[in-house]
């Protein structure tokens, strides 16, 4: 077979020698293939690495309550035997998990435990004792499995069962200790018989609890403290129980102080209940909700003490990230979604099991993000392939041009088209395959991903594409009439009808693709969601190639126009230079195509990356609302009372706001829940001015609204969300009712917006001026959020000062939010891929400059030599070289930049860049003209250098030798 192939071609030895005769071109093609091969083979492997990294982050970094599985139910589960009173709770949870958890979920759950919470009780001091503070206190009992391993007793001891305490019970019992003692004695001796419902002696259940030091402090308790508990009828766990059945008391004593060993540990599920009480506070009032650790042995007793009151049973199942990594995500997701749906019913009985987890959302988010990243990488792969193919075509044309004489000679000696084509295939294999293989192996060694199949395919496509263009570049010389080839100057290579038809089809396809995708973008029907979109992946490359072909066709007209202008002016440079360009065969116009493709790819990529970065910046503003925001942990913190904003630390501007997470609006008979924000508009505008988060607040949000503000006669102007539930659709000019809980206002809609900073995207909102609310002078309207403009460095100081001033407040940093977006594995990698493609395209645009100079160098050198015999001086020779090189570079770069910008502007929305901005905001297309200028500068800088080098080298060439005068 080898011999047969050998006889069909011109022989490997001849081929090798021919290739050795032009090492620079051969090496250029090989290196181009090598670089592309490394990138193409590395991309899918690295995608796998990044995907695994992101999946791990997805299932291990968020709140444990989000990533794990929480099963809960209310009701009363009976107690187990004395030696294992919680057995029924444990078994109930195990049974549910075993029977209901889908198999794929069972495989990724590594551990679980249960906990039980009792209803809430109001805390009172023991009769005759003074409370530690005037604020209402509440206490619940909790037992949590394995807590012994996660906490330690720092004072006292763990709770244990206690005997009931006999004490006076009744509404009319005396408070004075002496009177109580006397009455107790009388009742105990039987001297006094108490009337029904009057003060009497009863055995009151007595339980011990262990609490945290923080709980003890806030509740005003210590080891040994005793308090009286009475049921808090507002607790839903007491629902359905008659009031008289709640008229009992429990005595609780503090047996010890416990310390949680690692509050951040996943075991605690980000649940601080045992660590610290929940406090709802205003400037001068607070309510404290605490939880104490009970003895498991008390569970049975409590069941009887608390009667029909329900319990909250929770089973926390922990998902192991390692197991998720190796799981089949598609199967897991397909089983998890219906499972969660089934056990998260809108209407459920309290005793039904409910499953709470965002694992499915997290996995879905990971899969979607992966899909978007694959789409972005596909864009990059298509870009790399297009750049490589066009650059290889240019180099192949250069190589073929240099082989012209030998090819003509070979054809003169009888070489057939088939032999020449086969020879070219051998040449192509010799040039391309080593580079591609080397690149593939390098990627395999350097990148540890496991997607070998895709890598192999990409490398194969690269080899085939490069081979195809190498053969295509030689075909005209293999197939044209020999007579026309033998002429030194032959510009008779007219485009074949087939080529014209192919070009028209390609251009039509590109235009169609552009408008089709643009319509998709306008319709918001972005098909990149979830699935790989080949059309979208190929679109920029297709548009760039089609534009390049159009530019190649327009180019001669442009040159002809310049030539006409030049012919009207004195001087030979322009006149001859443009005539020379027009005389060249169409292959000499290939640099135009290469420049268009490279520059368009670079510019589209750069704009995309810049837009993502800009979107990330805007997104961080959207999420936080400022460089820093100060809010309470959970319940609101009244900023003026708790935090002195001015003394917090270095900041250049600040603004206060009040959030109403549960406000409502009413328009006519329809109403909807909304988030309302009252903002100090003047300060906030100053704070955001000149930043990516500039909100451009209108003046109507500032200042005193005047008399009767908030009434129908003087509604307060507001900005509202543009998106509302389907049954309500307030629009500009409408007067609607805004219910802020303690205040109902008439407001007039003056503006609608898609989003507002610090309000989650998609949540309906109403923004009102804080000045307007200040006129109502209500405590409930006190600002609860402060926005600060400060540098990244100021963060630590601000956080430390805030912790000192108000431990219940937290500092949210926009810089940290931005960092977390940028460092997201998929997002970070997608941006890096775009950067690599940018530098790749620019590098090959520069390579194209040199190659384009070389393409027509032999005829140029000869023409210049001839003209030198007529008296062409060095300046004119330089001018002619520039005239010849500048137009394709200029046209290609300008056209490429235009196409790049248009592609980014036209298809940017379809690229779905908002998923790379942290998802908070759409990424507006940002055109950084500096980059465009720098790309052009790089190309023209290299062109200038290349022309200077060519002219210097050309001056050293002997004119006579170039013209081959004489016979010596």
């Amino acid at each position: 077979m080898a011999n047969r192939l050998g006889s069909l071609s011109l022989g490997m030895r001849v081929i090798a020698r021919e290739l050795r005769s032009q090492p620079s071109v051969v090496i250029s093609i090989a290196v181009t293939t090598l670089i592309a091969s490394v990138l193409l083979a590395a991309a899918p492997r690295q995608l796998e690495v990044v995907s695994a990294e992101d999946l791990r982050a997805t299932v291990s970094e968020p709140d444990p309550a989000q990533r794990n599985i929480r099963v809960e139910r209310f009701g009363r589960l009976g107690a187990g035997p004395d030696d294992d009173p919680m057995r029924s709770i444990r078994e109930s949870g195990d049974f549910f998990a075993e029977m209901e958890f889908p198999p794929s979920l069972q495989e990724i759950v590594s551990d679980h435990y249960y906990l039980v919470d009792t209803p809430r009780f109001a805390v009172s001091p023991m009769p005759g004792e003074e409370p530690p503070h005037p604020f209402p206190r509440f206490l619940s009992f909790r037992y949590q499995e394995h807590i012994d391993d996660q906490s330690m007793v720092v004072e006292g001891e763990l709770p244990s069962p206690q005997d009931p305490i006999t004490m006076l019970v009744g509404t009319d019992c005396p408070l004075d200790p002496d009177e109580r003692a006397a009455l107790e004695e009388e009742l105990e001796s039987g001297a006094v018989q108490p009337a029904e419902d009057s003060c009497r002696l009863e055995d009151v259940a007595h339980y011990q609890v262990a609490i945290s030091a923080r709980t003890a402090e806030d509740m005003g308790l210590e080891v040994g403290s005793q308090v009286v508990l009475t049921p808090d009828a507002t607790d839903p766990l007491f629902n359905g129980i008659p009031t008289d059945a709640l008229a009992y008391q429990i005595v609780v004593s503090v047996s010890g102080i416990i310390e949680l060993t690692a509050v951040e540990d996943e075991y605690w599920y980000a649940d601080p209940t045992l660590h610290r009480p929940t406090i709802r506070e205003t400037a001068d009032f607070r309510i404290i909700f605490a939880t104490g650790l009970m003895a498991p042995e008390d569970y049975r007793s409590m069941l009887s003490t608390m009667g029909d009151a329900g319990r909250s049973y929770v089973w926390r199942h922990f998902v192991d990230p390692d197991l998720v990594e190796t799981a089949d995500l598609d199967t897991l997701q397909s089983e998890l979604e219906p499972f969660l749906l089934r056990f998260t019913p809108v209407v459920a009985r309290p005793t039904d099991y409910r499953v709470i987890s965002q694992l499915s959302d997290l996995i879905q988010s990971h899969l979607e993000q992966r899909s978007h990243t694959v789409a972005m990488v596909s864009l990059a792969v298509a870009g790399i392939l297009t750049v490589v193919v066009t650059v290889t075509l240019l180099l192949a044309v250069l190589m073929t041009g240099r082989q012209r004489r030998s090819i003509v000679l070979e054809r003169n000696r009888g070489a057939s088209r088939g032999q020449l084509t086969l020879t070219r295939i051998y040449e192509g294999l010799l040039i391309v395959v080593p580079g591609a293989l080397l690149g593939f192996l390098a990627a395999a060694l350097l990148f540890t991903g496991t997607d070998y199949l895709f890598s192999y395919r990409a490398t194969t496509i690269l080899v085939l594409a490069s081979l195809l263009v190498l053969v295509a570049a030689g075909l005209p010389l293999f197939t044209r009439r020999l007579g026309s080839l033998q002429r030194e100057y032959d510009n008779s290579f007219k485009s074949s009808p087939g080529r014209v038809v192919a070009e028209v089809l390609l251009v039509t396809l590109a235009i169609g693709t552009f408008f089709l995708l643009q319509r998709r973008g306008e319709a918001d029907d972005l098909t990149t969601d979830g699935e790989f979109d080949l059309l979208l992946a190929l679109a920029p490359a297709l548009i760039a190639v089609a534009s390049g072909l159009v530019a190649m066709r327009i180019y001669p007209l442009f040159i002809r126009s310049l030539g006409w202008v030049a012919s009207k002016r004195p001087g030979v440079v322009g006149f001859v230079g443009f005539k020379r360009i027009l005389s060249q065969p169409s292959a000499a116009r290939l640099p135009v195509l290469v420049f268009v493709v490279c520059v368009a790819t670079a510019i589209t990529t750069s704009i995309t990356a810049d837009s993502i970065r800009g979107g990330q910046e805007t997104g961080s503003w959207q999420v936080v609302g400022a460089d820093y925001s100060v809010k309470g942990f959970g319940p609101d913190v009244n900023i003026p009372g708790s935090v002195d904003v001015e003394s917090l630390g270095p900041h250049s501007a600040s603004a206060l706001g009040k959030t109403f997470p549960n406000a409502r609006i009413q328009a006519g008979v329809r109403s909807a829940r909304t988030e309302a924000l009252a903002i100090d508009a003047t300060s906030y505008q100053t704070l955001t001015e000149g930043t990516a988060g500039d909100v451009a607040l209108p003046a109507f949000l500032s200042g005193d609204p005047g008399p009767d503000a908030g009434t129908a006669s003087n509604p307060i102007p507001v900005i509202i969300s543009a998106n509302w539930p389907a049954d309500i659709d307030p629009s500009v000019g409408d007067v609607i009712t805004l219910d802020l809980g303690t205040l109902r206002l008439q407001v007039v809609v003056r503006e609608t917006r898609d989003r507002y900073p610090d309000i989650a995207t998609g949540v309906p909102f109403v923004v009102v001026g804080l000045d307007a609310l200040a006129t109502f002078d209500q405590l409930s309207l006190t600002p609860t959020v402060a926005y600060l403009r400060a540098t990244r460095d100021a963060g630590d100081e601000l956080a430390a000062n805030l912790d000192d001033q108000a431990p219940s407040a937290r500092l949210i940093s926009r810089y940290e939010t931005l960092d977390s977006i940028i460092e997201d594995p998929f997002i970070g990698w997608a941006v890096m891929v775009l950067q690599v493609l940018f530098y790749f395209a620019v590098t090959f645009a520069v390579v194209a400059v040199v190659a384009s100079l070389a393409v027509a160098s032999s005829t140029r050198r000869r023409d210049l030599a001839y003209l030198r015999t007529l008296g062409l001086d060095t300046g004119q020779a330089t001018g002619m070289t520039v005239i010849e090189q500048l137009p394709p570079t200029l046209v290609g770069t300008a056209f490429g930049a235009l196409v790049g910008v248009m592609t980014a502007l036209g298809l940017g929305q379809v690229f779905n860049l908002d998923v790379f901005t942290g998802g908070a905001v759409p990424a507006p297309i940002v055109i950084d003209w500096t980059v465009v200028v720098l790309v052009a500068a790089a190309i023209f800088g290299v062109l200038a250098a290349a022309v200077v080098i060519f002219v210097i080298v050309n001056r050293r060439v002997e004119v006579s030798r170039v013209l081959r005068v004489g016979e010596e």
Binding site: P570, V576, D873
Partner: protein
């Protein structure tokens, strides 16, 4: 061959008073090819007067094209001196060399395709030297048409080289070469790619140009037809001028014009003389010859004794 004489440093029959247009003095040109040195010219002397039409002939590798390159300012000699129209070609600045090429000389090359720019019309090609020299457009156009008319191609002015025959291309090349009224035109094998009749046409054109414009023409050629058109044929052998053939027209006793060709051996400045090969072969001259001086000539005798040794 009628007689063989040796002109002493000047061309026979030429006035000594007028300075020659071209003067080559002991020209040496050594090429270095890889590690080898090739001596292309080894002490060549040549003088050409203004208005002459001369041919330089010689075997392949004799050095004639090297001479032409040096005269055209395309190459520089390794030693010796060369002046053309008061331009010392060894001592030219870049600007002077450009000026020399623009105004003093014109070239006609052997390969028709390389004589003209293929993407320009005949007229544009002829205008090219004038454009390079800063000529006004109107003048260029007028002059180009005049020249094309002179070479018989006025009706082909808008044709590109590919639309012209080889002979027509060479005629356009001649028109181009004389566009800037040069002092001398160098033609390197101008008929090398042409058939006999077309070659004759080209030499006719060159002769016409020589006569009508007075431009000096130096033709390097193998073409035997050239002898009928030139005044002088200089033969080069081994890098030196070996002989010259002078032609003159005489009217004989019957009143008819008769061309008489006389071949001369060339004596260089140091007295070296190249004997014609046939003379050397006929007398089996080797290594040394015996010379005897008579009042009006020198006798050359074989060195029989030396041979016997």
């Amino acid at each position: 061959m009628t007689t063989t004489t040796a002109p002493t440093g000047t061309t026979a029959g030429r006035s000594d008073v007028v300075a020659p247009l071209i003067l080559c003095d002991n020209l040496v040109k050594i090429y270095k090819v890889a590690d080898l040195e090739v001596v292309a010219l080894q002490g060549l002397d040549l003088m050409v007067d203004e208005g002459e039409f001369i041919a330089i002939v010689g075997a392949s590798g004799s050095g004639k094209s090297t001479l032409l390159n040096i005269l055209g300012g395309l190459d520089t000699p390794s030693a010796g001196g060369v002046r053309v129209s008061n331009y010392d070609l060894l001592d030219l600045t870049g600007a002077q060399r450009t000026s020399y090429r623009r105004r003093v000389i014109g070239f006609v090359w052997q390969q028709t395709a390389r004589n003209l720019l293929p993407y320009l019309t005949a007229r544009e090609n002829v205008e090219m030297p004038m454009t390079l020299d800063g000529g006004k457009a109107k003048y260029r156009r007028h002059r180009a048409l005049e020249l094309l008319d002179q070479v018989g191609l006025a009706d082909r002015q808008d044709h590109r080289p590919s639309e012209l025959s080889g002979g027509e291309q060479q005629r356009v090349a001649i028109a181009t070469a004389i566009a800037n009224n040069p002092k001398v035109v160098f033609a390197d094998e101008p008929t090398g790619e042409l058939d006999t009749s077309t070659s004759a046409e080209i030499f006719d054109v060159l002769q016409t140009v020589n006569k009508e414009s007075g431009v000096t023409i130096v033709v390097v050629t193998h073409d035997p037809l050239v002898a009928e058109h030139v005044n002088r044929t200089v033969a080069i052998r081994d890098g030196r001028t070996s002989s010259e053939v002078l032609r003159r027209t005489e009217v004989d006793a019957e009143g008819e014009h008769r061309t008489i060709a006389e071949e001369f051996a060339v004596l260089d400045r140091v007295g070296r003389l190249q004997l014609p090969h046939e003379y050397v072969d006929a007398l089996e001259l080797q290594r040394r010859v015996r010379l005897t001086l008579d009042p009006d000539h020198i006798n050359v005798w074989p060195d029989r004794e030396g041979s016997d040794e």
